[in-house]
Amino acid sequence: MQTALIVGIILALLWFIEKMLGTAMVIRPIVVSTIIGAALGDVQTGLLVGATLELVFMGFIQVGGAVPPDVLVGAGLGTAYAIIGNSGAEVALALALPIALLAQSIKVLVFIIRSWFMNYAMKLAKAANIKGMINLNVGGLLLHCAMYFIVGFVAILFGSNAVEAFVNNIPDAIMNGLEVAGGLLPAVGFALLLLPMMTKTNVLYFLLGFSLLAYMNIPILGITLFGVVLAFIIVYEFNGKNGDSDTTDKEDEEELFDV
């Protein structure tokens, strides 16, 4: 009961902070899992689970209007179940994915409900009632937080035993496979990040970063600095020569992948 309350409150609070700080990334798994871990008395597991889930969920970001799988609920509940059941990152991963997919519908539902608010918002605007508009806006946020609280509370209160029994019955062979899959899953996240960015002409920068690490083992911060220097050289030193490359990029992209 107490655990369920704590998890519910953390989910609701993190969402509130995320939006009140203008999308400050406090709902990313690396943060969520650590906080859940700390609250449930196992920071170390929280950190490790957070690191694993962060990689897998890397590509799940809200860009534009499309709703991605819900990383907050996925990471929060996945970590909580793993810690309650004394299991590791593989279990958290196996649970976080389906949970995140299911929880996607919470956001969709909230976005629909808040669409109904908009008529009222227009009325408030027409009356220049700024206080009313702010209250409505914060009210909409609190509605979302309340949904997260209920989901977290109910899932832990009624789900823990069922989940624990389920996890204990997973055969070892499947658990090993999940570990392998855990190493592979970040590839999906990175591919999602590359999707809007990588084209036929700039694929070389991706290969450069990859090779610098694969062959020379340069730390990522070092590669970032190389990247910044290289970006300045290319953008400012060679500016005149490839000024119109942006347009050709798009055409190339289509040729390459129109197989």
Partner: protein, 272 residues
């Protein structure tokens, strides 16, 4: 209006108000008008300054209730531009107020593009890259550093973006287009982002073959040979394969499930 111009005391106060109001942006994000309610509230510091009677204020609030969507971290730049336009509109009766929304619509697309690639694509990835290795070692500094590395630049851009937008006002797009600043930022961010993603792919995607060939009496583990030619070739190929599937229009959730299946089946039959 030059960018070297110093802000007056009241304008500085206005900038701070724009900064604080900007956190309202996504409180009631919804399908019908997306961030409109939050954006309209964010315009209040300007509206209450420039319009003194209720009717004008209402009209302005309503104007900014039009559908709006951009990257939340860079919204103040657009608020700043819209503020400069509202100021002009309040002082100049012949100013066509339709321009305000047209400029906003013109800005929100490019700013979403640049904002997403700068904040979601580049800054977040760098912050994750540094925070993650610490978290994997079990250090609480991991998540803390992640949040700081992301949010210090975020807050600076949020504040100074507003100042920048306000100062350039109507001229922002001309200025930006003439000197190609937008294209330069976008291109530079893409280069850094791609290199970092490349490096992170190499360090964080793991895939090793456990195949062993037996020729005569000699056992030859395939992975040893791969490592001599191109270390981490398999993770690279797998990532590019995922990219290709996404390009072909496969859904991310589908390929996540496929990847889990490959992991389980591959380890069951003993090839990875």
């Amino acid at each position: 209006m030059s960018d070297k111009r110093k802000l007056t005391k009241d304008e500085k106060k206005l900038m701070r108000e724009i900064f604080w109001s900007s956190f309202m942006l996504e409180g009631s994000y919804n399908y019908e008008r997306q961030q409109a309610l939050g954006f309209s509230i964010g315009m209040w510091p300007a509206i209450k300054r420039y319009y003194k009677n209720e009717k004008d204020r209402a009209e302005a609030l309503e104007r900014h209730m039009n559908i709006f969507n951009t990257t939340p971290h860079v919204v103040t730049t657009i608020t700043g531009v819209a503020t400069a336009l509202e100021k002009e509109a309040s002082e100049n009766p012949s100013f066509d107020k339709k321009i305000i929304n047209n400029v906003k619509i013109g800005l929100m697309g490019p700013f979403a593009g640049i904002g997403d690639s700068l904040f979601w694509g580049t800054l977040r990835i760098i912050a994750v890259g540094i925070g993650l290795s610490l978290a994997q070692q079990g250090s609480i500094l991991g998540p803390i550093l992640f949040l700081l590395l992301f949010n210090v630049p975020h807050m600076l851009v949020r504040y100074y973006g507003g100042v920048f937008g306000y100062k350039f006002g109507t001229k922002i797009m001309d200025q930006a287009n003439n000197s190609g600043i937008m294209q330069k930022i976008s291109k530079g961010a893409t280069i850094v982002g791609l290199m970092v993603i490349g490096a992170m792919t190499a360090s964080m995607v793991t895939l090793e073959s456990s195949l062993v060939f037996t020729i005569g009496d000699e056992k030859i583990p395939m992975q040893d040979y791969l490592d001599q030619i191109f270390p981490l070739l398999l993770p690279l190929l797998y990532t590019i394969f995922m990219f290709y599937l996404l390009k072909r229009g496969m859904k991310p959730t589908t390929i996540l499930l496929v990847t889990i299946a490959i992991g389980i089946i591959g380890s069951l039959i003993g090839i990875i």
